[in-house]
């Protein structure tokens, strides 16, 4: 028997595969049955309605894409009255992603979504488009600590904190989120980038800078997930550039308890369905009975060829 389930704190997921916030809506039900997923993670929303950024909002890159969607949001009321009831039809843990401009607003919103039907609050403290020059709470340990502490006291739902790769102190930020009460870390959001159309000399995105996602950022997000897993004792959910079975296994081996899939779903909307089947087949072929036998099993580095203690 192959057991695909994984534990994120108190919560047991049927399998470690879930969508990344902002890349998933009910529209995907046009393509496959969404009840197979480990969790449903919704697009970040804010308390007040917002319009998001000017177009163009996406562009192609050599090995991925960049977006400056921003956080268009229909607000809290719409969420509670319109979106929430839709998701109740699934027997899959529902993760709502929230964002706000201050710690207080964040806490108030967390409190407001602490309602039946919601299994987890994911705090997007890392979206690089919203704040000036891409700065966000998640850039520094102190601002992370402050916002997470506020969130923690506002809700008793499991609290996942989504980190940003646009930081110079990933370990300190991860530890700050843990010590402030996060139940799990989602690592990571998009990497801030810029692309220019040289024929028009204009930025390719309406918002000038945007967030890079897809295969191009996989080694960066994987590194950060590894750093977070190794330096905290709460579960880490890996996210960034996952498109293949190997990508997913890299995150699990690096120490992640589950993964989120974003951009790959745009290239191929059946990605998560395929990954689930491939993971099960791979585990069976390799005699691996549970996900726990994969998580955090990174081996020592080196090929033993080079003695580095000499010139």
């Amino acid at each position: 028997m192959t057991d695909l389930s994984t534990r994120i704190g108190e919560l047991r997921l049927a399998n470690p595969i879930m969508p990344a916030s902002g890349t998933f809506t009910e529209d995907l039900a046009d393509v496959f049955d969404l009840s197979i997923l480990g969790a449903h993670v919704l697009k970040t929303f804010t308390a007040e309605p917002r319009t998001g950024n000017p177009t163009p909002r996406v562009c192609d890159l050599a090995s991925g894409m960049m977006n400056s969607i921003g956080i268009p949001s229909k607000g809290l009321d719409h969420f509670l009255t319109r979106a929430l009831p839709f998701w109740a039809r699934y027997d899959v843990p529902l993760v709502v992603s929230i964002s706000a401009n201050s710690s207080d607003e964040f806490a108030r919103l967390a409190e407001a979504v602490t309602v039946p039907g919601i299994a987890v609050i994911e705090a997007n403290i890392s979206c690089p488009n919203v704040e000036a020059d891409g700065r966000a709470f998640a850039v520094h340990a102190d601002s992370t600590e402050r916002v997470v502490r506020g969130l923690r006291s506002a809700t008793d739902l499991p609290l996942w904190v989504k980190l940003s790769p646009n930081t110079g102190e990933p370990v300190e930020v991860a530890r700050a989120a843990e010590s402030a009460g996060a139940d799990a870390l989602v690592v990571a959001n998009t990497v801030l980038g810029l692309a220019i159309d040289v024929s028009t000399r204009k930025p390719r995105l309406g918002n000038v800078m945007g967030g890079v996602s897809g295969p191009a950022i996989k080694p960066i997000a994987l590194r950060m997930a590894y750093q977070a897993a190794r330096s905290t004792s709460i579960p880490v959910i890996g996210c960034g550039g996952i498109a293949t079975l190997e990508d997913m296994l890299e995150y699990l081996i690096a120490g992640c308890a589950a993964v989120q899939v974003g951009t790959a779903t745009f290239q191929s909307p059946t990605t998560m369905q395929r990954l689930l089947a491939e993971l099960e087949a791979w585990m069976m072929a390799n005699g691996i009975r549970s996900i726990a036998e994969i998580i955090g099993t990174l081996q020592e580095a080196g090929d033993g060829v080079l003695s580095v203690d000499v010139m």
Binding site: G52, S63, N67, P72, F266, Q267
Partner: protein, 281 residues
């Protein structure tokens, strides 16, 4: 945020059945039709052939010759034939993605996702139809002409082009029993003021129940104006940069007039077809 028009637009969620699929299909033909455009014919399974005119597919363009298109590229359905198992696209080679498409040869495989979006509506009271389009827009409107013929509507197709030899799909429209009028830049007949006279003249002579158009803001503004004057409704197929094509990413929003307010709608989901009166040029 949903809006109600005769068919399709912004229908409530529950009317969406799992109805599109991601499939790898065989290229049967992929030949130039003129200097700029190519026609691609694919052998497609039934699962993706429940199409309606105005819908589109997202094509996973091959990586070729240094080009590395990453996101899928949206393409209107140029033709579909469920009985024969065929799907057609008419496309202009413009950048990395379409250059990749152009490298495909008979027997190669192409991954397509569709059909997507809301197509054109054709309520019973729309008997005398007028279609006005240019360039690639004519590709988008081609299956509409077939539908009009099937439903026994009369159709006038005004095909705009730089010069007469670049006017596309003229034969196809004629074969569907449409009256075809070619207007061109060369003789000045495609200019808005010339078009306005032409269209007003038709309205006066034969009557027009509805307009269909595509893309161009110049045509949109003209038809909005004429439509408002004469109380003639109509629909436009719009374009916008896309990532997912399914409604998930909100990349493809445009602004629409909805009563007194302006709202964003997703071209891939609520569209690509919208009421002419609501579109913002």
């Amino acid at each position: 945020m949903s809006m109600v028009t005769p068919l399709g637009h912004g229908s409530p969620r529950d009317s969406f059945l799992p109805r599109c699929a991601e499939v790898s299909v065989r290229v049967e033909r992929n030949d130039p039709v003129n200097e700029e455009y190519r026609l691609m014919v694919l052998r497609a399974p039934d699962a993706v052939l429940n199409c309606s005119p105005g819908q589109f597919f997202q094509l996973l363009c091959p990586v070729a010759g240094g080009d590395t298109p990453f996101l899928r590229r949206p393409m209107s359905i140029y033709g579909y034939d469920r009985a024969a198992g065929l799907l057609q696209f008419l496309y202009k080679v413009t950048g990395a993605g379409t250059r990749g498409l152009a490298t495909l040869r008979e027997g190669d495989m192409l991954n397509v996702l569709g059909p997507l979006g809301q197509g054109f509506s054709m309520p019973n009271e729309w008997r005398r139809l007028m279609l006005v389009a240019r360039g690639v827009g004519l590709a988008t409107l081609a299956p509409l002409a077939k539908e009009a013929q099937r439903l026994g509507r009369s159709l006038t197709a005004i095909c705009s082009a730089r010069s007469p030899e670049l006017a596309m799909s003229v034969e196809l429209f004629r074969d569907c029993g449409a009256e075809v009028i070619v207007v061109t830049d060369t003789d000045g007949s495609s200019a808005p003021e010339a078009l306005r006279i032409l269209i007003e003249d038709r309205i006066a002579r034969d009557g027009v129940d509805a307009f269909y158009t595509c893309g161009s803001s110049r045509l949109l503004r003209l038809l909005q104006d004429i439509g408002a004057r004469h109380g003639i409704p109509g629909e436009i197929a719009m374009e916008q940069q896309m990532a997912c094509g399914l409604g998930m990413c909100q990349a493809c929003v445009r602004s629409f007039r909805e009563g007194d307010t302006i709202r964003h709608r997703r071209v891939c989901r609520e569209g690509p077809v919208f009421p002419i009166a609501e579109a913002l040029a």
